[in-house]
Symmetry: C2
Subunit: 361 residues, 2 copies
DNA sequence: CCCATCTTTGGTATCGTTACCAAACCCTAC
DNA sequence: GTAGGGTTTGGTAACGATACCAAAGATGGG
């Protein structure tokens, strides 16, 4: 509407940069640029953007026109710095975004974060402590207001309250010795015990175990629950049926194939997580196809639900828990601690219950 | 080692904040805090953190000790502002992080971003144009150096070069009319045509269609491919067999159940995406269970691969393409444009090929 | 012993934004 | 006409970090 007195020169356009003469590297517009174009002071621009309190409507129009013309967006980093508001970010470090389990988890965190008007910034550690350390450092450098972490395990120097400079931390899914932080776990031991017991009750005596590394707490705890159930039923543990340390589907499939190839193969398999379940099922599927589609194989107990479990050709029991809910709980704990006064309370450890779903037995 | 002359007071501790007397709200340490504690100037701290060029080793030790003591982490936002380096962030806006397809996609973007030392910041639009608009605005405010977006469709004012202030944008998976941006698509039409043709070649004549809304380009293009294949074989389209607009598994399952309940149900179903495939299979699975486990149902063609396809009780053909690769390609295009001089080139549209996998027919 | 050179250190200004203050302006009412 | 109130506007400083410059200290050669 109002026409601009176009001194349309962006600051810095005039002087032919003496250092590097690199071409058009997209420099975002600033309040000053807008102010110059609109013929007002930066403060007036700032006020207009902030809602226009005490700015004459016709001036606002001028400013907004300039904003449009330059494609200006307020630099939120600079703004937050001045206003001394937090960054509006929480860091989420998971092992692998491609694992649907952790993707759901991240979604749960995002949900709660969005409710608090906070954005999440995600990084994958790939189960690597060093990458985790870098990731956390980077997050802290970006002034995240809190951290949600699925710890890779190993050294935990970088997670001490001291090292975090007081930034709240929540550990999810896995516990970590010697780190004083809120933790949200799943009832790994109880769930594993219940799942294994279901197999035993159904009469199985040769039960294999497929799980992740003993070094991470879930691996440890789930294995413990598995063993305790066997003990309860007086069934001896056959070491040949225990495969631990598979991190991905391929490794799990290989381990499972080896189990199927045993002279005396297991009649049931306890899969300690999502990745191992899928791998085991793929191994069974390959066998099914070789044998001309006769749908059969050992019964499966899976720690973690997965899509289409009901369509599997073998009996499946699921130790279910909601990854998304785990994410929500973690985030809730985090925001509680980020709230004024939240830093004082003693750290909490929440254990989420599991639910046994017998898909088919 | 060197002992600190502990005037260990953090700035602002002394004066009892006159405004709000809120308790310990975690204020991160700054260079000044470190400098005071170490008894040196902020510059010396800055230099030490930056690598210690021209700082006496014993002073460095002092500084690092103070850094440890305070849990100091350099404020990267402030730093980047002064150094006039980009934010080291690219924004990724997808429809839903819980969809494994988009999670993989995000992972692909993250991979490439990590190679460039750039972090990604993720948000879900939930297929909602307004949320998309807000998300993009937020990202721009955070000074992202680039945007990767799976557009929700609808109005695209906020995606014009003008509105973005020149921040590079890559559209992924779906095209958008009237937006001048690099786009990475999948060969939707060709893939859908090939998949449908496979069904027709196998003798199917009553083929249903389950897909997402016609308003998004994938929905449009895949449907077009489907229709063209039918035409090629001279098979008339039965409107009763076409269900469009299902966004999630539940909706797809309901639609599929309706199809199964028809007097003259389809002998095959074309599922235009991941969510619809899973929903369709769940519907079939429910039917299978009702009928006492007799594994049978219509043949399925699925646009999008999914885990355990080989274990399904019905014949499955997959129109495969790698979401992660799609993410990688998108990110690669984005970084090309973010590079010096990259803004000049004409926008490109890449179409990734699909691959037909006959799991069982 | 002093000047030249190099290393070490600190002061100042700045990135983009806004809180705060002060000045200019507009009204109304006496 | 002017004092008193409100509204509108711009200047200045500061958030946390560092580029740049200048000063101080160390080193060495004559």
């Amino acid at each position: 509407m109002a026409n601009l007195n176009a001194h349309g020169d962006r600051a810095g356009d005039g002087k032919p940069s003496p250092t590097s003469s690199r071409p058009t590297v997209h420099r975002p517009a600033t309040v000053k640029d807008v102010a110059k174009l609109a013929g007002v002071s930066p403060m007036t621009v700032s006020r207009t953007i902030a809602g226009g309190q005490n700015v004459r409507p016709e001036i606002q129009a001028l400013v907004l026109e300039a904003v449009q013309a330059l494609g200006y967006h307020r630099n939120d980093n600079a703004r937050r710095m001045r206003v001394n508001k937090g960054s509006g970010l929480v860091g989420v470090a998971i092992t692998n975004l491609a694992n649907p389990y952790y993707a759901s988890f991240a979604l749960g965190v995002e949900e709660v974060a969005a409710q608090h008007g906070v954005r999440i910034i995600i990084g994958s550690t790939g189960e690597n402590t060093e990458r985790e350390r870098q990731l956390v450092a980077d997050f802290l450098g970006r002034q995240v207001e809190g951290l949600v972490l699925v710890p890779a395990g190993g050294d935990s120097e970088h997670l001490q309250v001291q090292a975090l400079g007081g930034t709240p931390l929540v550990l999810a899914s896995r516990a970590l010795e010697g780190v004083d932080a809120d933790t949200v776990l799943v009832d790994d031991t109880g769930g594993a015990h219940a799942g294994t017991s279901a197999l035993l009750k159904a009469g199985h005596r040769r039960i294999a175990y497929l799980g992740n590394a003993a070094s991470v707490s879930t691996g440890h705890r789930r294995y413990a629950g598995f063993c305790r159930a066997l003990e309860d039923y007086g069934v001896p543990l056959d070491p040949a049926l225990v495969k631990r340390g598979q991190q991905d589907v391929e490794a799990a499939q290989i381990s499972m194939t080896a189990l199927l190839d045993l002279e005396d193969p297991p009649t049931a398999v306890f899969c300690a997580n999502n990745r191992n379940t899928i791998g085991a099922l793929k191994a069974i599927g390959a066998r099914v196809q070789e044998r001309g589609g006769i749908a059969t194989g050992p019964a499966i107990v899976s720690f973690d639900d997965f899509e289409l479990a009901e369509l599997m050709p073998v009996p499946i029991t699921i130790i279910d828990h909601d990854a998304r809910q785990l994410g929500r709980e973690s985030a809730t704990l985090l925001f509680a601690r980020m709230a004024p006064g939240g830093a004082i309370a003693a750290t909490r450890e929440i254990e989420m219950p599991t639910r046994l779903i017998v898909v088919r037995s």
